[in-house]
């Protein structure tokens, strides 16, 4: 068995302020196997973004150990093995869609695209934005901006893709399409994906493992392997198996919160 792509052991994150201490994550342990697709599901404020930031070396955990792709998060980040899609698209307003996707080539030392990996233009086409290369972010809809951000994160073929509610602000139709698209990208690239979402359906549809977090403080409420076929048409969401799994997830969520 190969080493996990992401391994968190007893990770806690506390945010200190003069008024109080917020425990965003409390003793969180889980792992994602290489090439796996794990959804992080939980109510607002339970620490999903925080967990993603710990994995991406954007914040250091107060306690616990994190291993990413066999090394420390810092080494993984410096090796340019990570792609991050932020909760708001975080595009640079003075750059066109294409220039935004090209940004990773201009900073951080790596300037040449690895052989055989998709060009910025191809990636824009992949996310359905062919023809929009020269538009500025303020000329794009929220969903289109989010797709530009995804194309940017895919540039260079990252081995681990961290996505923070990338489809949270989208309408259901676009979201369904992008969910299918993401499944396809995942099978094609073989990247490991850690995907944050509020939506039970999205979490179950996309992933082969769902990590349910409960809020205040953020703890692991459940980890479950999703036993669904690899080929997943959208219609799978109407099958009894899917509905049963989704109901179970909702049960885990309910236990963790006071709903």
């Amino acid at each position: 068995m190969t080493a996990p792509a992401v391994d968190c052991r007893h990770v806690s994150v506390r945010f200190l302020s003069e008024r109080r201490t917020v425990t965003a994550l409390d003793d969180v342990s889980f792992s994602v196997e290489p090439g796996g697709f794990t959804s992080l599901l939980g109510p607002s404020g339970c620490g999903k973004s925080t967990l993603l930031r710990v994995v991406a070396d954007l914040i250091a955990p107060s306690e616990g150990d994190v291993t990413v792709l066999g090394t420390s998060p810092e080494e993984a980040r410096k090796a340019r093995a990570l792609g991050f899609v932020f909760q708001d698209a975080a595009l640079l307003p003075w750059r066109t869609a294409l220039q935004n996707v090209e940004l990773p080539l201009e900073v951080g030392g790596t300037r040449a695209l690895p052989k055989g990996s998709a060009t910025p233009k191809e990636l824009l086409a992949l996310v359905g934005l062919a023809g929009w290369e020269n538009s500025f972010p303020h000329e794009l809809s929220g969903g289109m901006r989010q797709r530009v951000a995804i194309a940017r994160a895919l540039l260079g073929g990252p081995r681990l893709l961290l996505m923070d509610e990338p489809f949270g602000a989208l309408d259901e139709i676009t979201r369904d399409r992008l969910n299918e698209e993401l499944r396809r990208i995942w099978t094609e690239t073989g990247a490991t994906i850690l995907f944050v979402t509020h939506s039970v359906y999205e979490a179950v549809f996309l992933a082969d493992q769902v990590l349910v977090l409960s809020a205040n403080p953020g703890r692991v409420a459940a980890v479950e392997k999703i036993d669904l076929p690899k080929a997943r048409p959208l219609s799978i969401r109407e099958t009894p198996e899917f509905v049963a799994i989704a109901a179970r997830m909702r049960g885990y969520l309910g236990k963790g919160t006071h709903e």
Binding site: R77, R80, A90, L92, P93, W94, E106
Partner: protein, 278 residues
């Protein structure tokens, strides 16, 4: 398919709607241009009327006609005096803003320096220009230097404040993105912070364009023999109100041109829509 095709009458109606819209736009644009002009002409008319009716003597206030005549006959004198003022204002503008941008950059990278020196800068800024001017004249002599220094000082503060704000008010997720990409501090500065600051910088530069001219003029008030400021003082002492007004008009015309040049530069440089309302 038949529902898709538009009936000719409907098409015509839509075209008529568009034509009407364009006509409305055109008249609105014309109005926007003409109304300010009408305001200026009206004001000059009122001025002429008041001078005529109240029989104001020319050493108190000139009539607009007299000012116009002076503008034409004394054009040479006015221009030879505008030249040094313009040089001082532009040099001060460049110097003050360059210093402000540089110091803002240092402040953003060294927080402790900002904490140490920002209060000092605020303190210096509270001294009025008319008080700073004599000090600088004593320090720098009677040439162009003290005027340039005053113009520079007057530009410095607004640009510094805006520039620091522009460099710091970067989308935090964009900063995190730079870190995920392992961008260096220099790269983050040039690819993110500096561009983010440009709209802020230009708001400050537009203010600075007119204040730099004010700074140069105030500097010339103290023991200067040439320049718009000197001319203002001379014509006041000579009770030459027509010359005084003509000088003021030339000075403001230069200010306006300077401002328009910066506005044009802004349009060329800042082509995107700033992220947040600012």
């Amino acid at each position: 398919m038949s529902e898709m095709a538009m009936s000719p009458s409907r098409e015509a109606a839509i075209r008529a709607e568009r034509d009407a819209f364009l006509a409305r736009q055109k008249s609105a644009r014309l109005k926007r241009r003409l109304l300010p002009l009408a305001g200026v002409i009206g004001l000059i008319g009122l001025w002429a009327l008041l001078v005529y009716v109240l029989k104001v003597p020319p050493f108190v206030a000139p009539s607009p006609q007299l000012v116009a005549v002076t503008l034409v006959t004394k054009f040479d004198v006015l221009m030879t005096n505008l030249f040094p003022t313009a040089v001082e204002a532009i040099a001060g503008f460049l110097l003050g803003n360059f210093a402000a941008i540089l110091i803002a950059t240092v402040f953003v990278h060294k927080k402790s320096l900002e904490q140490a020196f920002f209060p000092v800068v605020v303190l210096i800024n509270t001294i009025p220009v008319v008080a700073k001017a004599p000090i600088l004249v004593l320090l720098l002599g009677n040439g162009m230097e003290p005027k340039i220094a005053i113009a520079a000082l007057i530009c410095f503060f607004p640009t510094l404040v805006n520039m620091v704000r522009g460099l710091e008010s970067v989308n935090p997720q964009a900063l995190e993105l730079m870190r995920v990409l392992s961008a260096s501090k220099t790269e983050t500065f040039f690819k993110l912070r500096l561009l983010n600051a440009l709209p802020y910088l230009f708001s400050a530069l537009k203010i600075a364009a007119s204040t730099a001219v004010i700074g140069a003029i105030v500097g010339e008030w103290i023991g200067s023999t040439t320049g718009i400021g000197a001319l203002i003082i001379q014509s006041t002492y000579n009770f030459d109100s027509a010359m005084l007004y003509a000088t003021v008009i030339v000075g403001s015309a230069f200010s306006v041109l300077f401002f328009l040049a910066i506005t044009l530069a802004e349009r060329l440089v800042v082509r995107w829509q700033p992220a947040s309302g600012h």
